[in-house]
């Protein structure tokens, strides 16, 4: 177990190293930041001064080494527009992203598994067909499109929920948020949950169908167990394996993939931070948020792998 964990850990670190390298070289292709900050008419000496300050006059390999060293110690540089350390802004926005993601994942798990089980039990019925078509619609709708439709339906037309995002005022806390402003969470949460609901429902359904046609379920039925006992005690337990895989994969994907939704609903998370940085050409912030998102993704996958190995000894051998 220990050697498995260490191997996985080293691999995760290698992945993070790769992520850093890709981010650095993509960012290296970007237009000259000194030019972007000063505009087209900036005089050459100011531009050169900025380049020197940012270390852009050094050769690529030196900059790459410096970037790796800084990023590895948690220093993501300073924002071009606010001059704050990027890490500080990210950590400030992190709670909002976590709240949004976890609540969306919670809803998605309950609804997705529920719909999936019902569809499998009543397979090829009207309910099954309708819910599977809806699941496919859920997969087909881009998140920002669904978000806007939600805004139109519930925010602008029915006026049940606020359209625009929650804004952290000075001195307000998450405690206040839960007590007074939870309704800001409703629309972005539902929007974010749509895709995982659909996918979890589809996976649960097909996995349940597989299990329901297996021998041990037939035996359980044959010995006269009630339908409820067969489904919950025998079938569901065995059907949940791929479902758990899907859910854990989606948790990682959601934490890093809520960007569009945060942007549309003006939700003060990491995604909004990244999107606000794009029109400002604030490269350190873009770079920092991309790296941070990938880091979370790798960490969650690492933890899930370890958890799996603990639960299922077969995994370790592979």
């Amino acid at each position: 177990m220990l050697s498995f964990t260490i191997r996985k850990l080293i691999y995760s670190i290698l992945i993070i190293f790769g992520v850093m390298s890709i981010i650095f070289f993509v960012m290296n292709l970007l237009p000259d930041p000194a030019r972007m900050m000063q505009g087209q008419r900036a005089d050459l000496s100011t531009q050169n001064a900025i380049r020197h300050e940012l270390g852009l006059d050094l050769p690529v390999w030196e900059r790459y080494a410096a970037f790796l060293k800084k990023t590895a110690t948690g220093d993501l540089g300073r924002s071009f527009s606010s001059n704050r350390p990027v890490m500080e802004s990210i950590l400030e926005r992190l709670p909002a992203t976590i709240v949004l993601t976890l609540s969306a994942m919670f809803i998605a798990t309950i609804l997705g598994v529920g719909i999936g089980i019902l569809s499998a039990i009543k397979s090829y019925s009207l309910w099954d067909n309708i819910s599977m078509i809806f699941a496919l619609v859920g997969i087909s709708v881009p998140s920002f499109v669904f978000g806007l439709l939600m805004i139109i339906a519930f925010g602008a037309w029915l006026q049940i929920f606020p359209i625009s995002g929650y804004v952290i005022q000075d001195g307000s806390s998450w405690y206040q948020f839960w007590n007074y402003h939870w309704e800001y969470l409703a629309l972005p949460m539902l929007t974010l949950a749509l895709r995982p609901i659909s996918i979890i429902a589809r996976v649960t359904r097909s996995s349940m169908l597989d299990v329901l046609s297996s021998d041990y379920v037939r035996t359980a039925k044959a010995k006269g167990l009630s339908a409820k006992a067969v489904i919950f005690r025998h079938a569901l337990r065995n059907a949940l394996n791929p479902v758990v895989t899907t859910i854990s994969a989606w948790l990682a994907a959601l934490l890093t993939g809520a960007f569009f939704i945060e942007y549309i609903f003006n939700w003060p998370g990491i995604g909004s931070l990244a999107f606000e940085a794009i029109p400002r050409s604030d490269f350190p912030t873009i770079q920092g948020t991309v790296f941070f998102a990938a880091l979370i993704f790798v960490i969650i996958n690492f933890l899930v792998d370890i958890l799996y190995a603990k639960l299922d000894p077969k995994v370790k051998i592979q």
């Binding site: 890709i22 087909s140 881009p142 439709l149 037309w157 359209i163």
Partner: protein, 358 residues
């Protein structure tokens, strides 16, 4: 599912042996939802290809007097010739007109009276220069026809998705094939690289690359294409892992043929099914990425109309509580295109792999 009588041995022997594709197509044809998806996809492709014939308006024709009109709005315009040679005639919105001698007197949309020589009109008969065009889905804030812009938007969506998916297929198949065929350290390095790309949120990678490459059609295709190959590489690698062990590949190697021949002539054709399934899913995702990019102002640039841009333009009207159609129509277009394609893709997966029941 319809029940067919089980054929006897004699009947089975009489039947001509057919290819996998024949049976897959037969299975696909029985799947009504998948066929519906295929038909809709085909219609969207037709609309995109023949947009210039089908669209009632030039998608970039601005009639500022007709800005943000509701769906079903009927215009009333006089067409006058454009002084610039070879340009389309200019529409002048009017309330009514009368003809006096060689002049036409118009009451314009704002209620002013304007005179114009008859010779300045486009065409000779009234049906030529007096039109009452239908704006089926209304107009945007520059008075452009939303319906026509949607049709031209399909063009951008489909072509960007097609070429970027093509790029993804090439990269994914190549890396997956090399990793799965050679295994060992080649596999380790290629899979490490695949996992690295997989770890970066795809939409952010697409955005970063398209900022780096600049805006435009080719840049957008590249940005989406070099991000979306991860699933393809994994599936192809998995296929190669198992197909490599088969006797016919062993035979190819034993006969002394090159590895490239084994890869491309013997293994790859047998992996076509899964490749097609992943490619259809990737195509649908590419449509979504294209729309997302143009929604945030990257991607293919104005005045070319794209669905994402149209949604962004309409987005500003939502809070004002009017012109929801400007957001809803392009949103529905994207949903319809991706949904139809996914329906087809789902059916295709079932048809190509009969072992997998839905």
């Amino acid at each position: 599912m319809t029940t067919t009588p089980i054929p006897t041995m004699e009947e089975m022997l009489k039947e001509k042996p057919r290819s996998l594709w024949y049976y897959s197509w037969k299975r696909l044809k029985r799947n009504r939802l998948a066929m519906a998806g295929l038909v809709v996809t085909f219609l969207i492709i037709l609309v995109a290809a023949f947009a210039s014939f089908l669209a009632p308006f030039d998608p970039n024709l601005q009639v500022l007097e007709y800005a943000t009109k509701p769906s079903g709005f009927k215009g009333n315009v006089i067409l006058r010739t454009n002084e610039l040679q070879g340009r389309e005639p200019i529409p002048v919105p009017i309330q009514s007109f009368t003809i006096q001698g060689d002049q036409i007197i118009m009451i314009t949309d704002e209620g002013n009276t304007r005179k114009l020589a008859l010779s300045k009109l486009a065409g000779s008969s009234e049906s030529d220069w007096h039109k009452e065009p239908n704006y089926y889905l209304g107009t945007d804030r520059y008075g452009r026809d939303v319906f026509s812009r949607l049709m031209y938007g399909a063009r951008v969506s489909l072509t960007v998705a097609f070429f970027s998916e093509l790029l993804s297929i090439v990269i994914g198949v190549l890396l997956g094939a090399l990793a799965g065929f050679y295994r060992g350290w080649v596999d380790d390095i290629l899979m490490w690289f695949t996992n690295v790309v997989w770890s970066i949120p795809p939409i952010l990678l697409v955005i970063a690359i398209s900022i780096a490459l600049g805006l435009g059609f080719v840049q957008t295709v590249i940005a989406i294409g070099i991000t979306g190959w991860v699933d393809m590489a994994r599936i192809v690698r998995g296929q190669f892992f198992s197909l490599r062990e088969t006797e016919y590949v062993e035979a190819t190697c034993a006969l002394g043929f090159s590895n490239m021949r084994a890869i491309f002539k013997h293994v790859l054709p047998n992996a076509t099914g899964p490749i097609i399934v992943i490619a259809t899913a990737g195509f649908a995702t590419a449509i979504i990425y294209e729309a997302s990019l143009s929604f945030i102002g990257l991607g293919v640039q104005p005045p070319t109309s794209t669905w994402g841009q149209m949604i962004y333009d309409g987005y500003g009207f939502i809070a004002a509580g009017s012109n929801w159609g400007l957001t809803i129509y392009p949103a529905l277009a994207i949903m319809l295109a991706v949904f139809a394609f996914n329906l087809f893709g789902d059916g295709l997966r079932d048809a190509l792999d009969p072992k997998l029941k839905r």
